[in-house]
């Protein structure tokens, strides 16, 4: 009964989405208030309906209702509760429910919190959002119904892929979708602006909080996925340039570019059509990611079940959404007048450079992801594009970008002074050079790449702090004055410092974990001792154990340093009988400076065990750095100007747009 209710709620949601995707357009062009307001009502209603559907599906999972095909295929009665719930989105149909639920969540949020938007603009934004919802609800109801019944109901389910039964992965999809789908709001704002033919500072301010929310969620979602891959896949790597990882990374790169270019629109009223294009591209790349994961065009660990009819449907959605919006862009964007001019060396210039490099990087990743497919289609040689391609193309693009970050953030708007910027940053320059020199002297063998990496990291962290210090007059003014200036700085100034410093922390992690990693592979007998780095590791032995839905072989490693105990680590090989699959659980001890990461392998015929020991220096800085970047995004959300909207004087000067807090005709 509850299941049928959920199914019915989805159909209701489709009806509301169709209304939301059509009537407000009509209302906005006819200045019909009632029709325009309908957009908000429909958006909230759609959210309520999909919430009901999601709750019904979750209930079926929690109560192990195997009369539902979806539950039967992806769950089992002995699975822990957390994974029963996360099983809802651990499959194609259920993850689509989550997808449209988040879409409706954002639609509802725009309806409720977008009070400072002019009514016609808000109506058009919500209508675009409704159209996206319509497409996805149609897709779900026609090709991927999560509420399909199974008669007769089986006694138990077939389980969830054990590699997905993990806390990190339980939260990775919702976070990632929050980012993917959050970009739909930016997209809808861009489309509404194209329809109205106007992009200005206030538009940039309205979009900013939504872009920030999506960016923060996407950042955290990608980090969770990478963290999971690190500790679950059991070989110490944290990024694999897998097509599906790339699918989430491309929208992130585009969204990062968008965050930066929207600042230029807001402050200087220029780069407008470029910003609109980025808003379209960021969401288009999210849609492309959805297509890649679900159509079966590429094979990957993440790929859901292959079904050609689904692929055709998503491709049609893609063509309508992306093709339509880019066609609209081609028609309407040329009419937008470019705004103020600026010198190449200026804040705008720096942000433009940032955008060019990020856009090129996005294109590179796109090329690497689609190249095997394209080559295959035109009948050329068959190849696979792996990490070597991305390391050879992506990394060189990042070097100038990272080098430019602190300088760009220091430059003044319109016309900057490069020498002045360097004077501000002289301590950071010195620290970076000193770090490189220190590394080259101390490390044996030293690699130039690693030296560059550490230097850039210190440059980023030092540069962001130096810029903030210069702004408040540290080293120049009296403490009282510094405090006053500090209080006077907008939240966005701190956000820039935090996010850019986080990037530096991330670079430390990446450089150290790839350049300084130590790895030992050996066969050990119980009781034997070996060393890795400065640690002595004693292999105590292997015993058998039992988990809730798996059996395990559990190895114990006692680690000491200079005779003093450091950690006792357990590495497991688990076997999941329901799914018939094994997993490995590495024994990991994380500290700020290094991870001990021990993996148990197979038993050799002579009674020893193959073990793999890693010493990963600074690896936690990778996720810490990403977390700090996301925190920068959150701090930026606190900025006052996002809440008060654009100053009325600016709007009045342009004419036409009435007071921003009063809707048209109200």
């Amino acid at each position: 009964m509850i299941v049928e209710l959920g199914h019915f709620a989805l159909v209701m949601a489709l009806g509301l989405a169709i209304a939301q995707g059509s009537l407000p357009f009509l209302g906005a062009s006819r200045h019909d208030l009632a029709l325009m307001r309908l957009g908000s009502t429909a958006a909230v209603g759609q959210f309520a309906c999909i919430t009901l559907a999601l709750a019904a599906l979750t209930n079926a999972y929690v109560t192990s209702d195997f009369s539902l095909l979806n539950v039967y295929e992806n769950s089992h009665s002995t699975k822990p509760l957390l994974y029963k719930v996360s099983g809802v989105w651990g499959n194609h149909e259920g993850s689509l429910v989550l997808w449209v639920w988040i879409l409706a969540l954002f639609g509802g949020a725009v309806a409720l919190f977008g009070r400072n938007l002019p009514l016609p603009f808000k109506a058009r934004t919500l209508a675009v959002q409704g159209l996206i919802g319509t497409g996805f609800l149609l897709f779900m109801l026609f090709t991927s119904n999560p509420f399909e019944r199974l008669v007769p109901a089986p006694l138990d389910g077939t389980g969830l892929n054990p590699i997905l039964q993990d806390p990190g992965l339980a939260f990775h999809p919702p976070m990632l979708y929050l980012g993917y789908v959050g970009l739909s709001v930016t997209f809808s704002f861009a489309m509404a602006a194209l329809i109205e033919g106007r992009v200005d500072a206030s538009w940039a301010r309205w979009v900013r909080p939504w872009t920030l929310v999506a960016w923060v969620a996407l950042t955290l979602g990608i980090a969770l996925g990478s963290w999971w891959a690190y500790y679950e896949l059991g070989w110490g790597g944290w990024w694999f340039w897998d097509p599906v990882e790339n699918a989430s990374f491309m929208p992130w790169l585009a969204a990062t570019a968008l965050l930066h270019s929207a600042i230029v629109v807001e402050k200087r009223d220029t780069l407008k059509s470029w910003t609109i294009l980025l808003a379209i591209l960021a969401f288009s790349l999210s849609l492309l990611g959805t297509f890649l994961v679900r159509s079966g065009v590429l094979t990957s660990v993440h790929a859901f079940a292959v079904d050609p009819s689904r692929g055709v449907f998503i491709l049609a959605l893609l063509v309508i959404a992306i093709g339509g919006s880019l066609a609209m862009f081609a028609l309407r964007a040329p009419a937008m007048q470019p705004g103020g001019h600026f010198a190449p060396v200026s804040r705008e210039g720096g942000l433009l450079l940032n955008n060019l490099l990020l856009a090129t990087a996005t294109a590179t990743v796109l090329l690497g992801t689609l190249y095997p497919l394209a080559l295959e289609v035109v009948g050329g040689a068959k190849i696979s594009v792996g990490p070597p391609f991305f390391n050879a193309t992506f990394v060189p693009l990042m070097l100038p970008l990272l080098l430019a970050v602190p300088i760009g953030a220091t430059l003044a708007w319109k016309r900057g002074n490069l020498m002045g910027a360097f004077r501000r940053l002289r301590l950071a320059v010195a620290a970076a050079l000193a770090t490189m020199a220190l590394y080259l002297v101390l490390a044996t063998p030293a690699s130039l790449g690693a030296a560059l990496g550490f230097g850039l990291a210190v440059w980023l962290i030092g540069g962001s702090i130096a810029d903030l210090a210069a702004r408040v007059g540290l080293l120049e003014l009296a403490p009282g004055r510094i405090w006053q200036r500090l209080k006077g700085l907008p939240a966005s100034a701190f956000a820039v410092t935090i996010a850019h410093a986080g990037l530096g922390v991330l670079i430390v992690g990446i450089t150290a974990s790839s350049a300084l990693q130590e790895e030992r592979l050996l066969a050990m007998r119980p009781g034997e001792t070996t060393t890795i780095g400065r640690y002595e590791v004693r292999f105590a032995g292997v015993e058998e154990g039992q988990g809730p839905n798996y059996s395990a072989l559990r190895a114990t490693f006692e680690t000491t340093r200079g005779g003093r105990p450091v950690a006792t680590l357990h590495s497991e090989k688990r076997f999941f009988p329901v799914e018939g699959q094994p997993t490995t659980e590495a024994g990991i001890q994380t500290t700020l400076w290094r991870d001990l990461y021990f993996v148990l392998g197979d038993r050799t015929p002579d009674g020893a065990w193959a073990v793999r020991l890693y010493l990963n220096p600074f690896v936690v800085w990778i996720w810490g750095g990403v977390g700090i970047m996301a925190m920068g995004g959150l701090v930026s959300l606190l900025d006052r100007r996002l809440r008060v909207g654009a100053p009325t004087t600016a709007a009045a000067r342009r004419g036409g747009r009435p007071g921003l807090r009063t809707p048209v005709g109200a």
């Binding site: 079966g296 094979t299 491709l315 790895e519 592979l521 066969a523 018939g580």
Partner: protein, 176 residues
């Protein structure tokens, strides 16, 4: 002229959508190889140093149906597939491995950790042999009959379903 610039993104997308549309008509996991039903190409690969001295070459094929599995330690799907290869080997199927674009020491560590189901392993460090075989991306598994002819190609990780429905019946029919 400036207007034309704004059409470029749409044109690029049309090209991408075209590729995706053609790509959809092909299922990558059963992608027919250009070499299907032809003799396996000639090759002679060095061993993974430390595993054995033999290596793996064209001359080792023939005499009975075998599987040839292209794998790499940097390949995540291979890791998922590997237990299935192990079980195939335990069930008495002869599986040879070609280690594709990989460092031998990484491959050895990988095999030590996950188990080594392979009868023979050749190290294809520069991917030359992979190109001759038409490897699209690892993992890929080929079924070779007793005459050394490629009779089936599976792209992507083998799933239990593929083994039961395709690989095992095919091997059974080849034995007769």
């Amino acid at each position: 002229m400036r207007r034309l610039l704004f059409v470029v993104p749409a044109l690029v997308f049309v090209a991408i959508a075209g590729f995706l549309a053609v790509g959809l008509t092909r299922d990558p996991s059963t992608l027919p190889s250009a070499l299907l039903d032809r003799p396996a190409p000639d090759f002679a690969l060095p061993p993974l140093p430390g595993r054995d001295e033999a290596g793996f070459s064209r001359a080792d094929l023939g005499g009975g149906p075998v599987l040839v599995n292209f794998f790499a330690s940097w390949c995540v799907p291979c890791r998922i597939e590997h237990p299935i290869i192990n079980r195939l080997a335990e069930a008495g199927v002869t599986v040879h491995g070609i280690n594709y674009k990989d460092k031998p020491e990484d491959a050895l560590a990988w095999l030590a950790e996950l188990g080594d189901p392979f009868a023979l392993v050749g190290s294809d460090q520069d991917g030359r042999v992979g190109i001759d075989w038409g490897v699209y991306g690892v993992p890929e598994t080929y079924v070779i009959d007793a005459d050394g002819t490629i009779v089936h190609k599976h792209v992507g990780p083998l799933q239990p379903r593929d083994v039961e429905r395709t690989i095992l019946p095919l091997l059974e029919s080849l034995k007769r």
